[in-house]
Structures are given as structure tokens and as C-alpha cells.
């Protein structure tokens, strides 16, 4: 495995040539090697993923009354492999989430059900903005940016990374955060680079300048990684089955394994807005989704002790199926929390039930756990953040769910 010291030594030489070695890098090169960091990986399922068909309340007859065509068949004792995965006699994972089975059995996967935002919006775009801001009802910078620990002298320019060409709201804010479309393409152009770098470093145009400065800092760092053998090789490896999300997570994995100083990573996966033909689309989507996450865990190996993955979607879908074998915009959904320090193998959250009067506005799964409860715990656990009011202004966390083995929240239990 490539160590931090080795690639930094290589990069220091490369940078001396370019004449622009950033101070942090020179310091980091002298720092003790192999400083492994806690990493929080955030996955956004855009389009309002149907929590009720990801984590199926199969013991409730009412579920099948509401979803006569698209309901997921209950697991049968001793049945074949291609069926829902019984978790606890009440909930089952969708059959296409097979790759999660092992994580569940190893107690690395926790599920929070009936989770979501207290805001009533059924607009994808408002609800995504609210969730990414961490402030239901108002839009601003991203919660993950605020959650980053204060910058240290050895903080890396790659400490907050998003995979994709644009920077998601979740990571926008005061702290530098970079977007990477593709690590292979993310390298400095040739001859005129230092002049362009200076243009962006000195411009009075704050927003363009910031993006440029962050880009050059990241490029220098990545150039040094390119000089090193690629951790895990260049092929898809274990990431072959998970589509775009897998490709994104593979790149996150490469950065983490190279000790590039990643603390927060973001990736997204769309295509969950299943107003019609949900069974087929959901099966395909979940197969890739779970394959990507499971591949990442496998790729990270024992580093998963330092990593927590948390997934979210802007809201859930109607409890009742619609007229086109799909579902319309709803309310409560599901979050998955995965990691070595996660107290997995358990479905967290209070189950609100599916009877007419138990549904939110008589149509959707109610929200019994605020998504900020979940995020507060993982932020506190991973970053040691004590001032959660700064990350989620106006939010007062209730009794902790106890999702992690470590962290202040666990200490409170």
C-alpha cells in the first residue's frame, strides 16, 4: 500500500519544479506518515427514493393493501435467494439490495426508517436544497461544509471532495471544497499554468478566484498522486457492478487509500423519481446502489473503521401506489448508515404505522426522526464536533439514537 510519506516525497520534487509548493504540503511532508483520518462519506439519492420499497414493512398487511401491484413480496422461510431479505421479522430489504446483506450481518449497516425533513414541501428541488443546507424551510450553504473541523496547518486541499462536475450545495460554504469530474482528467495544463494560477490567485473576482485557487491547490496534490502507482490498480476491480456511483466511489477510495487527506466526500445518484414502472426501475437502481456501496466497503477494508457512509434522499413517496405502477411525492423515507464504528444490524427510529390516520396528510409515511438527528450523530462521531448548533442552526437534537460506537453521542447513553 502506498503511504503518505512516499507520495508526498515524490510530489515535493514535482512541485519544486513547478515553483509553487503550497505551504501546507511542505509541512505535511515533514509530518508523521500514515496519518489516517476520519472520513464522512455522504451519498444523496436524488429524486425522492421510495423508502417503503427499500426497507419493506412486510409484516404489515396494510402495506400490501396500499401497494397491491408494486408491493415487495414478503420473504419466505427457506425460500430461494431472489427475494427480500428478512431483517427482523418486521422489515426486509428489497431483494435487489443483496450486497447489503453481508454488511447487515457484520453489523456495519444501520437503517433509520421513517426519517426525513419536518418541512412539508413535496418539491424535489426545494426539499433537496433544504436537506443539503441542513436547514428545513430555508436555503443556504451546506451542512457538510459547516461540519468540517477547523482547518489545520496540515489540512489537505482535498479534505472536502465531491465527485461530479458541479459542487453540490451540501459542500458549498466558507471552507474550500473541490469538485472532481474525473481524477484522471484533473491535472494541470502545461506551459502557461503558473501564469493562469497567478491570475486566479490575484483576481478581485472573489467567486471565480476561489474556484480557481482551490482548483490549482487540488491539481498540484492530484498531480503528485498521478505520479504514484494507483492504489487498487486502474481497472474497475470490485467496482464493476455499481454504475456511475461506483465509479465515483472508486475515485473517493483512491484518494482515501493514498492518504490524500480526505475528511468529507460527497457523491450522488439520480433516477429515483419513480412515478411509473417502479418495480423494474427500482430493482435496477437498488442493484447498482448497493453494489457500489458494498464495493466501496470491500475496497476500503479495515479502513472502514475510520469511515462512516450516510445516505439520504429529499423525501419519500406516497404510501399508496399511484395509477401507473409508481408512487408520487411523499414524506418520510430511509437513511442507511454504514461503517466499522456503526452499531449496525438494527433498524432505528420509531415506526409510525401505515393506517390512514397514521399517515402524514393521510397519504405518506410520517417522519418520526429528523434527518438532522442522524447527521448530528455522525458529524459528532466522525469530527468530534461539539457545537452542533453551528452545523444545524436552530435544531435541538433529541435523545440520541446511538448509531455509533464512539463519539460524544455514545458517551451520553
Amino acid at each position: 500500500m502506498l503511504t503518505r510519506r512516499i507520495f508526498l516525497r515524490g510530489s515535493a520534487i514535482a512541485i519544486a519544479g513547478a515553483g509553487m509548493a503550497p505551504v501546507w504540503l511542505a509541512r505535511a511532508a515533514a509530518a508523521p506518515s500514515n496519518k489516517r483520518r476520519k472520513v464522512l462519506v455522504t451519498i444523496f439519492q436524488r429524486g425522492a427514493a421510495d423508502g417503503l420499497n427499500m426497507v419493506v414493512p412486510f409484516s404489515e398487511k396494510r402495506y400490501y393493501d396500499l401497494r397491491p401491484s408494486i408491493g415487495i413480496q414478503a420473504p419466505r422461510a427457506g425460500g430461494g435467494a431472489n427475494q427480500a431479505i428478512d431483517l427482523d421479522g418486521h422489515f426486509a430489504l428489497h431483494q435487489s439490495l443483496q450486497p447489503f446483506k453481508e454488511l447487515w450481518e457484520n453489523k456495519m449497516l444501520a437503517i433509520v426508517d421513517a426519517v426525513g425533513s419536518p418541512d412539508p414541501s413535496r418539491s424535489h428541488f426545494d426539499a433537496q436544497d433544504y436537506m443539503e443546507s441542513g436547514t428545513p424551510g430555508s436555503k443556504g450553504d451546506g451542512w457538510l461544509n459547516r461540519a468540517l473541523p477547523p482547518k489545520q496547518t496540515d489540512s489537505s486541499p482535498l479534505r472536502a471532495v465531491s465527485l461530479g462536475a458541479t459542487l453540490p450545495r451540501t459542500l458549498r460554504g466558507d471552507q474550500s471544497a473541490i469538485a472532481v469530474g474525473n481524477l484522471e482528467q484533473f491535472s494541470t495544463p502545461s506551459a502557461t499554468a503558473s501564469i493562469v494560477e497567478k491570475m486566479y490567485a490575484t483576481t478581485a473576482d472573489a467567486s471565480v478566484g476561489t474556484a480557481g485557487k482551490d482548483a490549482f491547490a487540488a491539481m498540484r496534490m492530484l498531480d503528485s498522486l498521478h505520479d504514484s502507482p494507483t492504489p487498487g490498480g486502474r481497472g474497475p476491480g470490485v467496482f464493476g457492478q455499481g454504475g456511475d456511483l461506483a465509479r465515483a466511489l472508486q475515485q473517493v477510495g483512491r484518494l482515501i487509500k493514498a492518504d490524500a487527506g480526505v475528511e468529507a466526500a460527497f457523491a450522488e445518484v439520480g433516477g429515483w423519481d419513480h412515478h411509473q414502472n417502479e418495480p423494474n426501475q427500482m430493482a435496477n437502481g437498488l442493484r447498482q446502489f448497493s453494489a457500489a456501496l458494498a464495493a466501496f466497503c470491500k475496497d476500503m477494508g479495515d479502513r472502514m473503521e475510520d469511515i462512516v457512509i450516510v445516505t439520504m434522499s429529499e423525501f419519500g413517496r406516497t404510501a399508496r401506489e399511484n395509477g401507473n405502477n409508481g408512487t408520487d411525492h411523499g414524506h418520510g423515507s430511509v437513511m442507511f448508515v454504514i461503517g466499522g464504528q456503526v452499531k449496525g444490524g438494527k433498524v432505528y427510529g420509531e415506526w409510525p404505522g401505515l393506517e390512514e390516520e397514521q399517515l402524514y396528510e393521510k397519504r405518506d409515511l410520517a417522519v418520526t426522526t429528523d434527518f438532522r438527528e442522524v447527521l448530528s450523530e455522525v458529524v459528532a462521531g466522525q469530527f468530534g464536533t461539539t457545537d452542533l448548533g453551528r452545523v444545524f442552526p436552530g435544531f435541538k437534537a433529541g435523545a440520541p439514537l446511538g448509531l455509533l460506537k464512539t463519539g460524544p453521542q455514545a458517551a451520553l447513553l
Partner: protein
Amino acid sequence: MPDAKITRWLLAAAAVLGAQGATPGGNSPASFEAKLTPDQKIEQALNRMTFGARPGDLDEVRKIGLEKWIELQLHPERIPENKALDGRLEPLETLRLDSAEIYKQYFPRYPAAMLMMDRPMNLNELLGAELMRKVLNGTAEQRLAALKSLDPDKRTLAVSMLPDTVVEDLPELKKERDAARQKRNMDRVAEQRRLHPALRDLLSDDQVAIVTRGTTEERAALLASLDPDKRDKALFAFPPNALAGMPEWRRASAMMRFPQEVVLDDLREAKLFRAILSNRQLQEVLADFWFNHFNVYEGKGQPDRVMLASYERDAIRPHVLGKFKDLLLAVTRHPAMLYYLDNWESMGSDIFDVGPFAPGQFGPVQALSRMAHGLNENFGRELLELHTLGVNGGYTQQDVIAVARCFTGWTIRLPNQKPEFAYASFMHDADEKTVLGRKIAAGGGESDGLQVIDILARHPSTAHFVATKLARRFVADDPPPALVDMLARVFLKTDGDLRAVMEALFTSREFNSQGAWLAKVKSPLEMVASAARAVDADVADTYTLAQNVTEMGEPLYQKESPNGFKDSADTWLSTASVTARIRFAEALAEGKIPGVKVDFSHYAAKDRVEIARAILGREPAASTWNAMISGPAGDNMTAVETATLMLSSPDFQRR
């Protein structure tokens, strides 16, 4: 003597330092009161109403007069179109075909790429339903017994197709499956190699090297040197990127392999050609704006890929300077939108409550359970939220449902063959509805939807929402409220006359103010088109340019969600996008983009100060000058380097 040259540079830089320079992006309310100089007003019009100024545009507008030029852009039919553009669009045939023809010619049942192998048999066909069920869902013993009952050949084939879930608890079977799978794949590869040889089996090593590393000219010469049969085989094996810069060959190759791809390529390439070459620039800017406002995603399904050409051509383009209501109606009735937002299969909830269709005790009858049989809210919600009122426009969940009910029956005749709008009365929910407090009487049929369009097109929230989006695109990310209010008033007063709204916008105080000056970060499409225009590039192929736009964060026709791209700095600015922009600038200036030629010979007589100014269309910021002067190339900077630097500069990212 170099010293004299450097002195001249420094003097130029000092002059720039002393010149006025509004800080980009910083627009206080007062700044929207501060006027632009007459020349700045022309530059502003060119920056906002076109995809970027070409060399000489400024002089031309000066000559015609700004008012007259704006008037012309508002009446594109009075501007003779660029002949070169017509020539570039000519081969992009799908732009002119109706959807039925596109189905016929570009979506063959078996494209050559699939014909090369036996039609893949699926497990279900091989086993039949009964065995299939046992193999997929049975216990380990049942699964093994079911497979044992097959004759050996059939068994080998069936085993090779078993999914992981069937073999994971049976290691022996898994081993057999993996071996069978490997053999089958090898057989397939061999057959494929025979029918469609790989490049290395077809060409010499030197020739393969030209394909992978040669220039466009070398590749073209190679293709021309092959005899026709061999050339077809080679074209089949060429990676599409190796055919960039050779649009005819690329098309021929795609038509053999995956003709469906051509449809999307045509749209993207046309978008770039029009943005770069059209004389009717405002029309093109607006076609892009309104397509994005009424976004449809090509990947929703095959029908949307087929129908997108017609959607842009027939529903969007004719109305961009017409009445908003006509645009809204054309979009709503177009099969591409009906398909994208699922309205085509939405129907009254009780349509199938009768006779043999009626649901059983526990839900829809088997025959119907996989078919559409009720309401779908998707279109109703997005019509209100994204197309007309805006998310805070004052509607409720009940309005969403009522609007969805009004549009039941607006569907598509023959969506997979010859798609066209159809009103299917049997799908319509005929009961009374209430939309935004207005009663829609029972029995209105198709007119329910027309009434909703009428209500929405005249609604003050729609006027405000449309005005906000136009002001954001043309003035500033956070447009001044007074401007939005004024535009909304014009919208309501003129019954949604978009030409009148645009004219009011371009002549407004705010548009022509310091607050709007350089307030916008270019979108990726604007960045690529404006760069090509600034250096007056000779563009014969836009395939690679379209890829550049995608890398910068704007995959054309591939925005999955119906809100389109938000046109604001926080969308377009990221480390990835800045990196892609700088890489693109270098490739363009160095002539490394296939199909795009840049001729800098006319810069020979100019010094770098003039070159830089010509490319940017204005004075660069002092910091940009200083960085250029202090660079390692010092005084020996070439025209290519100067162009690279200007196109890469922070200055060029704004308009």
C-alpha cells in the same frame, strides 16, 4: 530591444490599473442605477444577447446603431441566416425528420452491432415459466433437481446464465456456472472477432498507431487509403472519439453500430453550431433558455430520445419570441413532454372500476396490475412548480391533484411508432375540479386542460416567475426586484408577449447598469461558444466541443430532472469546471480540438496587448495583465500563448 517592449507592456498594465473596473459579481442595489458608457452598452448587449462577440461585432453594432441592432435581434426573420450554418446543419438529418421517420431510420430492430451475435437467449425462454420459478426461487435441492432435468447442452447454457443469487449457496454449481459463462463469452468474442475484426487484426501496427495517436488529418488519410470493404470494417472498429473532426465518417460508423446515438449527437452538434455560427443570436440564446425552462431528458426512455428533435423544433423554437401561452400549450401537448412527465399514462382513478376490469377484493385484477390504471401527479406538479407559478406561486397539494385530473386523457397516439398528441376521452376524469379556487365544470373533456393552461398563462405568479428567470439569465443571478416587477407588469399587460418582455428587459435601466456589468458567470455552453467566436474559429465539427461542455458541467439534453440547469454562478463554478475550462482554452488555442481550426496569422501584425483585448472584447483586469507580464515566457509570448491565457483568464469566464 526587449526593454522597450517590456516598458510598453508595463505602461499598458498601468493604464489598465488606472482604468475603471467594476468588481465583477459585486452588485449593490445602487449599482443598478449607475449607467454604462455608450460602448459598454454595446458590449453588454453583445455579451447577453449573443453567445459572445466575434472580432468586428462591436464595430458592426456601432455602425448599425444599438437600438436598430436590438430591434433586428428581436425579429430574427429579418436577419439573413449565415450560409455557413446551413451547410453545417445539412448533414444533421434527424433535425428535420418527424418522429415516425426517426423511428424507422435510426431505431432499427436489430442494429448491426447486435446482429453480430446470436440473439441472446434469456433464461425464461430456455426454461419455461415452471422451471424458471424453481430455479430462481426454489430451495437448493429444488434448484439442483430442476437443472438436472435438462439435457446437457441446454443445461450448460442455462447454468451459464444463472444469477449470483441462485448459485451463491452452492459452490459446485457456482464453479460450473463460472466455467460455462467463461466459455460462452470466449465463443462470443471469437464470433464477434470474425464478423467484426478488431483494428489490430485489420490494420498494420503503424496504422493502428495513427488511429490511437495520430492527428485528424492522418486518420482521414488512412481511411481514404483503404478499399471500401476494409474501410467499412475499420469504421466499425474505430472508437467514436478517433472519428472526431470527421463528421461524415463518424456518422457512417455510428449508423453501422448504434444509429440511435446519432439522434442525440445531431441535437448536441446542432446546438453548438447554431450558438457559434447563427446570425440570429438572440433566437438561439432564447431557444436554449426555453428548452432549459421546459426541460425534457433524452434518457427518460427511447420515445424521448426519438421525439426531442421535434420537441425543440416544433414546440420550443417557433414561440421563443411569441406568446407565452402558445409556448406553454405547444410544450404541454408535445408527446415528448407528455412522455417525460408521465402524463401520457395518467388517467381517472375509477376508469377501470367497471365490468371485467374492476379491481378484485385485494386490488387491480392481474391483467391490469402491470398497466396504467389511475392518476399520476408528476406532470401536474411540475407544470405548476417549474413551468408556470413557481414553487412559491400559491398552490397546494390539492391543486396539484386537480391539475393532474384536468390533464387526464392528454396522451400519445402510437408512442413507439408514430407519436403524436391524442386526447383519449376514455382516460379522462370527467368530474368537476377546483384549480386555484376556480371551478372547472364537470364534463369539460379536453377543454379542462386548455382551461388550466389559460388560467396559468395569465396568472400573476407566472408573470413573476418567468420575469425572474429571464432577469436572472440576462441581468444578474439575483436580479433587482424592481426590474422583475416591471417585466412581470409588461408580461401581464401584453398577455404574455415574450418579444415585448424581452424588449423591456434590454432597454431597462438595470440591464444597462454597472450592477449588471460582468455580473454573470458564463455557462459551459456560453464558455465554449464564446471562445470559438472570440478567436473566429473555423468550426467543421462540434462533436468534441459538445464533450467539452459536458466536462464543464452542462451535459446538453441530459439533465435528468425537470428543473433544468440553474443559471447562476454557484451552479457553474467549481474546481472541476474551472479545470475543464482551462484545459479547453489551451486545446482550442493550440488547435488541438478536432474539427476546429484557429488561424492566428492575422494576429501576426498585432502585439499581445491588442491580441488580448481582441479576444476578451474589453480591457482585462489589472491582476490578469500583471500575471501575464510576470510569467516565465516574459516578453517572448506567442499569439497562441496569449490566446490560451486570455481564454483561461478569470475575466473570460464572465459575460
